[in-house]
């Protein structure tokens, strides 16, 4: 090929030389250089004869910019490192491409989104698992995060009314194995050796008039397979399962398999229906694992569950952030957690918003704040604290220097008091960011 190029280009040259004599307007700029011609030739024949590794970086850029995007993926995946080629691939496939979410790696972005697409469109029983596995073999080294926004249920066979009723009668609710099981993660997770984050939602997007409640929850079999899959994935750091109607039973099952997970740091079960027994299981998880962030936002945890978590919290030394917003802790749970924090020196963020706690909890909280100097942010919004709670909080905040964020909106505390508390928090924040003497003076004056 190279010989052909050189001969053709030399032919060009001789032609050009002749043209110079005749054409005054001719300029050398219109002739591409021999190296460019040969690179173009490489680009044109890239699939048959990939010459890439031995080129210089600028030449590589040239090739990445010109090579056609219709190259087979298994071929391109091995040849091109992260770069312009993958950027072109992404921009061709998706309109919005924010590479900062993918560690500034276009290749990672391409593969992750590609795999997510495949899984989201996976219909159990119809789609071959091989399509997923083929993709996995190509991209297992590049995938760090999987954000799966839907999981399709298998296609239901058209059943007659009688049969449906009969099956309901006989099989009841427990044995719905063959009915609504979703994608089996066991075939996937143990192969992704670099996976760190997994976001899962058991739901169907834009289902329209075909809505059924079963589309928005996971089955028992799903739960078991997912739990086993999670156990097999040793690199996972973040697991998020939200909006999936996770009940106590399934939560216990998941937690059971996650108890000894070596790398899990963040657990997010927000927007589920976890009750007290599930919370108890999570409390056990807190004592055993090294979780740093726990998010149980919008669940159904009551006082007993909160007590279990509080008990775990008093012994735990790793947890940094705890989110219990929108649960049913009441004063029972709130006081338990505040008391537990007397012994905890690691928790930085505590969120107890919308839990129906009252001034009773604030009293124990303010006594805790007087001693604890690690807590940075508190959220007590949407609780009816009242005047007494406001007073107690103001008192506590005047002695505390560590809290830099305090959310007390909608707590029936007087506006004036709220602004005072906010001012104190604000000053704390400034002091933390800039240890400037002038700032201190202004603070004192305030």
């Amino acid at each position: 090929i190279n010989i052909n190029i050189s001969s053709s280009s030399s032919g060009n040259c001789s032609n050009m030389r002749r043209i110079i004599a005749e054409d005054l307007d001719w300029s050398l700029a219109t002739v591409s250089s021999l190296s460019n011609l040969s690179l173009q030739c490489i680009v044109n024949n890239f699939e048959e004869r990939p010459i890439y590794e031995e080129l210089t970086s600028s030449e590589k850029d040239f090739i990445q910019n010109r090579v056609s995007l219709s190259l087979p993926l298994h071929f391109a995946a091995n040849v091109f490192p992260d770069g312009v080629y993958w950027k072109r691939c992404c921009e061709q496939k998706w309109k919005v491409c924010d590479v900062s979410n993918y560690g500034e790696s276009w290749k990672r972005m391409f593969f992750e989104r590609q795999l997510e697409n495949i899984i989201e469109l996976f219909v159990p029983g119809i789609t071959e698992p091989k399509t997923v596995l083929d993709m996995v073999t190509l991209c297992k080294d590049h995938i760090k995060k999987l954000n799966i926004a839907q999981l399709l249920p298998p296609v239901k066979e058209p059943q007659t009314e009688d049969e449906e009723q009969a099956s309901e009668l006989t099989l009841a609710n427990d044995d719905d194995k063959s009915g609504m099981d979703h994608f089996d993660f066991r075939i996937l997770l143990d192969k992704l050796t670099n996976l760190e984050e997994l976001h899962l939602v058991y739901k169907v997007k834009s289902c329209g008039m075909n809505f059924e409640w079963s589309m928005f929850e996971m089955t028992n079999w799903d739960c078991e397979s997912l739990a086993k899959a999670l156990k097999s994935c040793k690199t996972l750091k973040l697991f998020r399962l939200h909006l999936s109607h996770l009940e106590d039973k399934k939560c216990r099952l998941l937690v059971k398999y996650l108890l000894d997970h070596p790398s899990l740091r963040t657990l997010d079960f927000s927007h589920n229906v976890i009750g007290d027994s599930g919370a108890r299981a999570i409390g056990k998880l807190l004592t055993k694992s090294k979780l740093e962030i726990l998010n149980l936002y919008d669940n159904n945890i009551g006082g007993p569950g909160a007590k279990a978590i509080a008990h775990a919290l008093s012994k735990n030394t790793t947890l940094v952030s705890l989110n219990l917003c929108l649960n049913r802790l009441k004063d029972e749970g709130g006081q338990a957690i505040c008391k537990a924090l007397l012994n905890n020196k690691t928790l930085l963020h505590l969120q107890l918003g919308a839990n129906g706690v009252t001034w009773l909890t604030v009293l124990s909280l303010s006594s805790m704040l007087a001693q604890n100097n690690t807590l940075k942010s508190i959220n007590l919004s949407c609780n009816t604290l009242g005047e007494v709670g406001g007073n107690a909080l103001e008192e506590a905040m005047s002695h505390n220097t560590s809290v830099t964020e305090c959310n007390i909106h909608l707590t029936d505390i007087e506006e004036q008091r709220v602004s005072v508390i906010n001012q104190m928090v604000w000053n704390n924040q400034f002091r933390k960011q800039e240890t400037n003497p002038r700032e201190k003076n202004t603070e004192n004056a305030n």
């Binding site: 919008d298 929108l326 918003g353 919308a354 949407c382 959310n407 909106h409 909608l410 604000w426």
Partner: protein
């Protein structure tokens, strides 16, 4: 979406929430959304007033405001959810109570019915039974009615709830739109703030850049000024130079113009003269024209003749063509003949060469035969000489004379021919023998000068190498100078610009060509000239042989210093040429080595004279004497038989006497 999801969950619940609650919820949500922003704004304003100068702080506060806004929204949503939950719980509770009441009422009625049934069992009378049954039926109907009523109520509630849900959805949609708008505003605010900061930073940097620019410009100006100064200086110099050169150019131009004008004047004069001449010529030409007209008439007549002539010429040209073809044919023929002859000539030449070879071979054979003959004769002669000498010695001995041997050297030396043949060292021996011959030869032409042979001999000998090229060159130069008259004038002109060495070589070449000499004779000639000079100087001295030897030794040593007298060169050259020609002639005539007749003569003479005249006379006398002696001896020899006979007779007689005596005695 999350909200939507929650609302979905809400849907199947029995519709218990009242309008009032929902309204409250919506109001609270709006309030929750509006309040924090206002607060944030206030906060921001106060902050801005406090720390307007500090951009960083401002940005931070802005960020905080924005985050608080987000958290506020979230808390608002949380509150809403809380209320929704509590409402739901209330509804559930109310519903449960209602259901309980209903169940209780039902229970009572059912009890009543049961009691009724016991009465039914007791009653036997048909009419009574009928009435009791009717009452039972009424009770049952009442229960069913109650249930139906409850169901209807619940259904109605559900319908209301559905409507509410729809309304709620719409409201949510509106809220989301509002939030989007607000977010847009937030974005704008933030970007505006950033833009302001950017402009401020830009301003600062602009100032810096301007300062730097000003500095750089000043520097540049300085540099430029220096540069311009130097440039100006150089320019001034150049201008001065240009002016000078202009002046000179002007002068030159002036001179030239005056010259040109002078020349023009001359030219004008000349041209006027020429014009005059031309006019004269014109006059002449007019006359000539008249004459030509006359001629024209004649020419017409000639033209007619010319036509005839042309016809003739055409004919003759045809003839010429024919001749040409003939000529070509002839040429071919001759070419063929020539080729044939060439072949013949080649053949004859080959024949000639073969004959020559034969001749050479035969001459060689003859020579060999001759040599052999010669050698044989020499041997015979020497044998004869030896015999003669032996005889001589015998004679001498006989005569009682002391025989003296002729010179031993002579006796020992073999004949010249044999010596040549028996020679084992062909280079050294001939030199010796020849040397002898040379001696004699030189004696003969001593007055003539050094012989060419000898020269050639020395030329081939050791001395040639020693004759330095320098010397040779010098001699040659001399020769060239002296014999310049032989070189052509043209050649001499051509040679004038060349170097001396080259001149001499070229001249020598031409000279040699004139004299008929060859390149290899050069050394010889030089030698000869040197020798000749010395010969001239020492001609009076007698012993040429010795002189020659001495000269051989001293030739190389002395000749370099002494050059030949230029006056002697011409006669020397003449002599050399004579000898050269002779030698060339000899060389061509004798293919084998030259025969030394003189040596042989001497040799033969000596052999002839080996028995001297005195000896011969002696020999004659001795012969005579011996002859006489022979005669005497012959007489004696003739007398010997007689004596012998006599003796025999004597013996016989004696014998007879004895016998007689004996007989007598016996007889006695």
């Amino acid at each position: 979406m999350e909200e939507a999801g929650k609302v979905h969950e809400e849907a199947p619940e029995p519709p218990v929430l009242s309008d009032n609650q929902v309204d409250k919820k919506g109001a609270s949500s709006f309030k929750g959304k509006k309040d924090p922003t206002e607060e944030g704004n206030e906060e921001l304003k106060s902050k801005m007033e406090e720390e307007k100068t500090d951009v960083k702080k401002r940005i931070m506060s802005l960020q905080k405001r924005l985050t608080t806004l987000v958290t506020n929204i979230q808390t608002a949503v949380d509150a809403k959810e809380m209320e929704r939950r509590s409402g739901m719980e209330d509804n559930c509770r109310i519903r449960e109570e209602r259901l309980k009441d209903d169940a209780k009422a039902c229970q009572e009625k059912v009890e009543e019915i049961r009691k009724g049934w016991s009465i039914v069992n007791q009653k036997v009378v048909h009419s009574e039974l009928q009435s009791v049954l009717d009452s039972q039926q009424q009770l049952c109907a009442a229960v069913i009615e109650d249930k139906k009523k409850l169901i209807r109520e619940l259904q109605w509630e559900r319908r209301v709830k559905e409507d509410e849900y729809l309304k709620n959805l719409r409201r949510l949609d509106e809220e989301i739109k509002l939030m989007l708008d607000r977010m847009q505003q937030q974005f704008q605010n933030l970007s505006k703030a950033y833009r302001e900061e950017l402009t401020q930073l830009q301003g600062v940097y602009q100032q810096e850049i301007e300062v730097l620019l000003a500095k750089d410009k000043a520097k540049l100006k300085e540099h430029m000024k220096e540069h311009w100064d130097t440039e100006l200086e150089s320019l001034m110099e150049r201008r001065r130079m240009v002016e000078e050169s202009e002046k000179t150019v002007h002068d030159v131009m002036l001179e030239n113009t005056t010259k040109i004008k002078l020349m023009q004047l001359e030219e004008n004069a000349k041209s006027q003269a020429r014009l005059r001449e031309q006019q004269q010529m014109k006059g002449k030409s007019v006359i000539l024209n008249f004459k030509q007209l006359e001629h024209g008439n004649k020419i017409a007549a000639y033209n007619a003749k010319l036509g005839e002539m042309k016809g003739k010429i055409l004919g003759s040209s045809k003839e010429v063509k024919n001749l040409k073809t003939k000529y070509a044919k002839q040429k071919d023929k001759f070419m063929k003949q020539r080729q044939y002859l060439c072949e013949v000539q080649k053949r004859s030449r080959q024949h000639y060469e073969r004959i020559q070879k034969e001749v050479r071979y035969t001459t060689a054979a003859d020579a060999r035969k001759f040599e052999e003959m010669w050698v044989m004769m020499e041997e015979e002669v020497t044998q004869l000489a030896e015999k003669a000498l032996a005889i001589d010695s015998l004679i001498c001995k006989h005569l009682g004379l002391a025989w003296e041997c002729p010179s031993a050297a002579f006796m020992e030396s073999p004949g010249p021919r044999r010596s040549q043949e028996h020679d084992t060292n062909p280079t050294s021996h001939p030199l010796q023998t020849r040397y002898l011959s040379h001696c004699s030869q030189r004696m003969m032409d001593a007055s003539v000068g050094p012989s060419l042979e000898r020269d050639s001999e020395h030329g081939t000998g050791v001395e040639e190498g020693e004759l330095s090229s320098e010397m040779l060159m010098k001699v040659m130069e001399l020769l060239c100078d002296e014999t310049g008259f032989l070189v052509e004038d043209k050649l001499r002109k051509l040679l004038a610009p060349m170097e001396k060495n080259e001149q001499t070589t070229v001249k020598l070449h031409s000279l040699f060509a004139v004299l008929g000499l060859e390149e290899k004779d050069l050394a010889k000639l030089a030698e000869f000239l040197l020798m000749y000079k010395r010969q001239q100087g020492e001609q009076t001295v007698g012993h040429f042989v010795e002189e020659a030897e001495v000269m051989e030794n001293s030739a190389t040593a002395d000749s370099t210093s002494r050059l030949i007298n230029p006056n002697n060169i011409l006669p020397a050259l003449q002599r050399f040429l004579e000898q050269h020609r002779k030698s060339v002639h000899e060389r061509s005539s004798l293919s084998h080595p030259a025969r030394d007749t003189l040596v042989e003569e001497a040799y033969w003479d000596r052999l002839g004279n080996i028995i001297t005249e005195d000896k011969l006379k002696l020999w004659d006398a001795a012969e005579r004497e011996l002859k006489q002696y022979e005669e005497v001896l012959m007489d004696i020899s003739e007398l010997v038989p007689e004596t012998e006979l006599l003796r025999q007779q004597n013996t016989k007689l004696r014998m007879q006497l004895q016998q007689i005596l004996s007989s007598t005695r016996s007889s006695n």
